[in-house]
C-alpha cells in the first residue's frame, strides 16, 4: 500500500493504520446482477464513453463536495484542486495499481448502492438524496474505508504545496494558519521529479567504468 493512503508519522512510534486491510472492504454486491447490467465506467461505445466521463466527473465532484462542502470563510473543494488531483493520483503509475483501482472501484460501488437503493444512478439523484446516500454508505465498513481514502485525497489537495496544482493560492494553508517550511519544493526536487536522478546515471557510468577498464577514479 502506498503512502498516499497512510501517512508515515513523524513520531518515533508510528501508530498502526486506522483501517485494517483494504481487501476486507471489497463491497458485498447484494444484487450482483446490477453490476453487469450497468457498465457504469466500462462502456465501449464512444457515445457511452463521453457520457461515462461526464458522469464520472459529476460523481467525483459531487462526492468531494459532500465530504468537503463550501462553508463561509473557508476554501471550497474547487480551491483545493482536489478533482484534478484525484485524476492524477489514479493515473500515477508509480503508485500501487491496486490502490488506484480501489479508489476507482469505490466510485462504482457508490453507484451500485444508489441503484440498489433508488433504482437510479447516483448522479441522477437530487443533492439532498446524494448526501443521504453518502451518509448511509459511511456507516458500512467498505463505505467508511473508501470515503476515508477520498478524504485523504482531499487533505492532500488542501494542504500540500501548490507546486502540485493543489492548495490553490495557498488557500488551505491560509485558512488553517499553516506556515510552510523552507525551502519549498522546486520543479527539480518535487515528486516525482526527484526520483528521476541525474546523479544516479553518473553513478552508473562510473560503475561501468570500474567494471570495464579497471581504472580507479578517485572521488573529488
Amino acid at each position: 500500500m502506498s503512502k498516499v493512503l497512510h501517512n508515515k508519522e513523524d513520531s518515533l512510534f508510528p501508530s498502526p493504520p486506522k483501517l485494517p486491510h483494504r481487501r476486507k472492504f471489497i463491497r458485498q454486491v447484494l444484487l450482483s446482477g446490477i453490476a453487469v447490467q450497468l457498465p457504469f465506467f466500462f462502456s465501449c461505445s464512444e457515445e457511452r464513453k463521453d457520457n461515462t466521463i461526464h458522469r464520472k466527473t459529476d460523481l467525483v465532484n459531487t462526492i468531494q463536495q459532500i465530504l468537503f462542502p463550501d462553508t463561509p470563510d473557508s476554501p471550497g473543494i474547487e480551491d483545493t484542486g482536489a478533482f484534478a488531483y484525484f485524476n492524477r493520483i489514479v493515473r500515477d503509475e508509480r503508485l500501487d495499481p491496486e490502490e488506484r483501482e480501489y479508489l476507482q472501484n469505490g466510485l462504482r460501488w457508490v453507484n451500485e448502492t444508489a441503484q440498489e437503493e433508488t433504482k437510479k444512478d447516483f448522479v441522477q439523484l437530487t443533492f439532498p438524496q446524494q448526501k443521504q446516500l453518502i451518509k448511509k454508505i459511511s456507516a458500512y465498513s467498505w463505505g467508511e474505508a473508501w470515503l476515508s481514502r477520498m478524504l485523504t485525497v482531499i487533505f492532500e489537495a488542501l494542504l500540500l504545496d501548490p507546486i502540485y496544482g493543489v492548495n490553490l493560492q495557498e488557500s488551505g494553508w491560509k485558512w488553517l494558519g499553516h506556515v510552510p517550511g523552507s525551502p519549498r519544493p522546486s520543479k527539480r526536487n518535487r515528486y516525482p521529479d526527484i526520483l528521476i536522478r541525474k546523479e544516479e546515471f553518473i553513478a552508473v557510468s562510473r560503475l561501468e567504468q570500474l567494471s570495464n577498464d579497471g581504472k580507479h577514479t578517485k572521488n573529488k
Binding site: M1, S2, K3, V4, L5, H6, N7, E9, D10, L12, F13, P14, S15, P16, P17, H21, R23, L67, F68, P69, T71, S74, R94, L95, D96, S138, L147, S148, F155, E156, L158, L159, L160, W173, L176, G177, H178, G181, S182, R184, P185, S186, N189, R190, Y191, P192, I194, E199, E200, A203, V204, R206, L207, L210, S211, G214, H216, K218, N219, K220
Partner: protein, 565 residues
C-alpha cells in the same frame, strides 16, 4: 551478464547509514581503500525541501512496498500466529534507503546509554521469558567514542546535574543548546513542582556552523525530512562527505547486495550485488562490513548460504536474526488551548520551529511500589506534534466515537484544531526485552523485485515492557498536568517502532550464544564485521543512533589496527 569490479578494496561496506558512516570515515582517513555499496539512491542536500509529499506521502526515501516489503508475523487477539506483508497491511517497515540511510531523516534525539545498560542482567537480575545478558564491553569502553561522536558528528546540548547523568570525559557538549520554545520553561517548572529536574535533550543538530555545515535554521520540519542546512548530523553529511574527499572512498548507490560469498572456509571473498540496471556485479575486498540496519543485516546473512554455512553466513549457532529488539514504550500528549492562555504566552507558544528538547530521566531506575523491587525504568522525551499539515488533518478524520468525520463538521474541527490548539506530545522509551519470540528469518514464499526472499519478522514483546511503559506514562502525565495541558492521554503498547530496531546479531564472549565477538567481528567468519545496531544484546531506554555511531567508531579502530598489522 555478470561483471566484476576490478579494483580490489581493503574494505567493502554494505550500507551507508549511522552504522557504516564512522567506518567509512575512519578507514578512508586512515588511507585504506574503501568501497561502499548502498542499496538506495544518492540524494544531495539540494534535493531536500520541506515537502510533505516527498517526505511523508510517497515512497521517495524508501522503497515502494509493491517492490519490496516485509512480512510481519505476530500473535493475534485470538492467540494465533498471523502473518501479513507490509504491502497488504500498509504498515511500512522501511526507514531511509539512500546514501546516509535513515540518519538523514532522524530527529537527532541523542542520548547516551547509561552504565547500568551495559550490565542489565547483573544490575537487575534475570526476568523469566527474557534473554537478558550483560554486554561484553562497559560504558567506560564506549565513553571515548560517545565523545568522538559529539565532536565529529556534532551534538548540541546543555548539561545539568541530575541523578542519572552518565559519566563524561568532557565538561560539556561542543555545541550550545538549540533555541527553545517557551513551553520548555513550562515543562521545567512543572517538573520542579514535582520535585525533580527535566534534562535538556541533546540533539545531533548543529546550533553553530562547523566547516561546510550550517547551523540549524529552525525550519519547523526536522524528523522525517532531509536537512537543507546540513545542520543535522547524518552519516552522509557529517562523515561520508569527508571520507569522499580523501580520495580513498568509492561509493556506489543503487547497489543492492544480495550475497556474500566465502572461499569455502571462513573468509568472505566477494559481495554480489545488483546495480542500478539490475545487472549482477561482484566486488572483492579483504574485509567486509555489513551495516544495513538490523533487520536487513540479518536478512543478508541468512541469504548468504555458503559451504560451511548452510543456514546462512555467521549462523553457525542459529543465532543470526534472533533476539531482535525495538524500543518499548509508547506515546502520549496533551493540548494547550491558545484562547485560555494570556495573549503573550499564546503567541510565544505558537512560534513555529523552536524546539522543546526536554527529557525525563528521573525514573531511569525506580522501585516497584508493590514489591519494593529495584526496576530498570526509562526516559520520556517531550516534543511538539509534527508540523506536517496533512498528517495533522488525518488525525481529525475520526470523531470521539470513532465515526468518520466529514462535511461541515470536519471543516469546523480542522479550523479549530489548527488555529486554536497546540499539541505537546511525549514519547516513552524503555527496554524492549529480548525474547525467543522476536526474531528475523527469511520468508519462505514472498520475494522482492529481484526475486530474493524478504525478511519475515516475528514480533513479540515481554509483558514487563508494558508494565514499565505504563509506569513511565503515569509520570509523564503528571508533568503534563502540571503544565496545564488538557486532554492528556498516553498509549503504551507492544507495537514496535520500525525506526528503532536493533539486535539480531548480538555480540558476546561466547561463540555458542552470540554471533559477534566483543569487537563486532563474526565469531565464525574471519573478515566480517557488523556495525549497525544488530550487535546490541539489550537496547537501553533511549534512541539508538548515538550508541550505533559510537560503537561503529570503536569497531573502526579495531579494523584499522588489524589492517595495519
Amino acid at each position: 551478464m555478470e561483471k566484476t569490479l576490478k579494483q580490489q578494496w581493503d574494505v567493502c561496506i554494505v550500507g551507508s547509514g549511522a552504522g557504516a558512516g564512522p567506518v567509512i570515515y575512519e578507514l578512508s582517513k586512515a588511507g585504506f581503500k574503501v568501497l561502499v555499496l548502498e542499496k538506495g539512491p544518492w540524494f544531495r542536500t539540494g534535493d531536500f525541501s520541506k515537502d510533505e509529499m516527498v517526505a511523508a506521502r510517497r515512497s521517495v526515501y524508501t522503497p515502494r512496498l509493491q517492490d519490496e516489503r516485509h512480512v510481519l508475523e505476530y500473535t493475534n487477539e485470538e492467540g494465533n500466529l498471523e502473518a501479513k506483508s507490509t504491502y497488504d497491511s500498509g504498515r511500512d517497515f522501511w526507514n531511509g534507503n539512500c546514501v546516509g540511510g535513515s540518519s538523514n531523516f532522524m530527529s537527532g534525539y541523542f542520548q547516551r546509554l547509561k552504565p547500568q545498560d551495559f550490565r542489565l542482567l547483573s544490575e537487575y537480575g534475570a526476568i523469566e521469558g527474557a534473554n537478558v545478558v550483560d554486554w561484553p564491553i562497559s560504558y567506560e569502553d564506549l565513553e571515548p567514542y560517545y565523545t568522538k561522536v559529539e565532536q565529529i558528528v556534532g551534538v548540541s546540548g546543555r548539561l545539568i546535574d541530575h541523578p542519572f547523568q552518565e559519566p563524561r570525559s568532557t565538561d560539556d557538549f561542543p555545541y550550545p543548546p538549540l533555541a527553545e520554545n517557551v513551553v520548555s520553561s513550562w515543562l521545567d517548572k512543572a517538573a520542579e513542582s514535582l520535585g525533580y529536574p527535566l534534562v535538556p535533550l541533546p540533539r545531533a543538530i548543529l546550533s553553530q556552523p562547523s566547516g561546510e555545515r550550517h547551523a540549524c535554521v529552525y525550519s519547523n520540519y526536522c524528523g522525517s525530512y532531509g536537512c537543507s542546512s546540513d545542520a543535522k548530523g547524518s552519516a552522509r553529511v557529517a562523515l561520508i562527505h569527508k571520507a569522499l574527499k580523501t580520495g580513498n572512498c568509492t561509493l556506489i548507490p543503487n547497489a543492492k547486495v544480495y550475497h556474500l560469498e566465502t572461499n569455502g572456509k571462513q573468509k568472505i571473498v566477494r559481495a554480489w550485488f545488483y546495480d542500478a540496471k539490475g545487472q549482477k556485479q561482484k566486488a572483492e575486498a579483504g574485509i567486509f562490513v555489513v551495516a544495513a540496519q538490523a533487520v536487513e543485516t540479518s536478512r543478508l546473512l541468512l541469504m548468504s548460504k555458503n559451504p560451511g554455512f548452510p543456514d546462512g553466513l555467521a549462523n553457525h549457532n542459529g543465532q543470526v536474526g534472533k533476539n531482535l529488539i525495538f524500543s518499548a514504550g509508547g506515546t502520549g500528549g496533551g493540548d494547550f488551548f491558545l484562547a485560555e492562555l494570556p495573549e503573550k504566552e499564546a503567541k510565544q507558544l505558537s512560534v513555529p520551529g523552536l524546539f522543546v528538547n526536554r527529557s525525563l530521566h528521573q525514573y531511569y531506575e525506580y522501585r516497584d511500589e508493590k514489591t519494593g523491587q529495584r526496576m530498570k525504568g526509562g526516559t520520556v522525551d517531550f516534543l511538539f506534534e509534527h508540523a506536517n499539515p496533512v498528517s495533522k488533518a488525518m488525525h481529525r478524520k475520526w470523531d470521539d466515537e470513532g465515526n468518520l468525520r466529514y462535511g461541515a463538521a470536519l471543516k469546523e474541527d480542522l479550523k479549530n484544531y489548527f488555529r486554536k490548539v497546540r499539541k505537546l506530545k511525549f514519547e516513552i522509551f524503555n527496554d524492549w526485552l529480548p525474547t525467543d519470540g522476536c526474531f528475523v528469518r527469511l520468508d519462505p514464499k514472498v520475494k522482492d523485485k529481484w526475486g530474493d526472499p524478504v525478511a519475515r519478522i516475528r514480533i513479540d514483546y515481554h509483558p514487563h515492557d508494558l508494565e514499565v511503559g505504563e509506569f513511565l506514562a503515569g509520570q509523564a502525565k503528571k508533568i503534563m498536568e502540571a503544565t496545564g495541558a488538557k486532554n492528556i492521554y498516553a498509549n503504551v503498547s507492544g507495537s514496535p517502532p520500525p525506526n528503532l530496531q536493533a539486535g539480531g546479531c548480538r555480540f558476546g564472549h561466547d561463540a555458542e550464544t552470540s554471533v559477534l565477538d566483543p569487537d563486532c567481528k563474526a565469531h565464525s567468519v574471519d573478515n566480517l564485521y557488523i556495525t549497525d545496531g544488530s550487535f546490541m544484546p539489550t537496547g537501553g531506554s533511549v534512541t539508538y543512533t548515538w550508541t550505533i555511531y559510537a560503537n561503529a567508531f570503536r569497531v573502526a579502530e579495531k579494523i584499522i589496527e588489524r589492517l595495519r598489522k
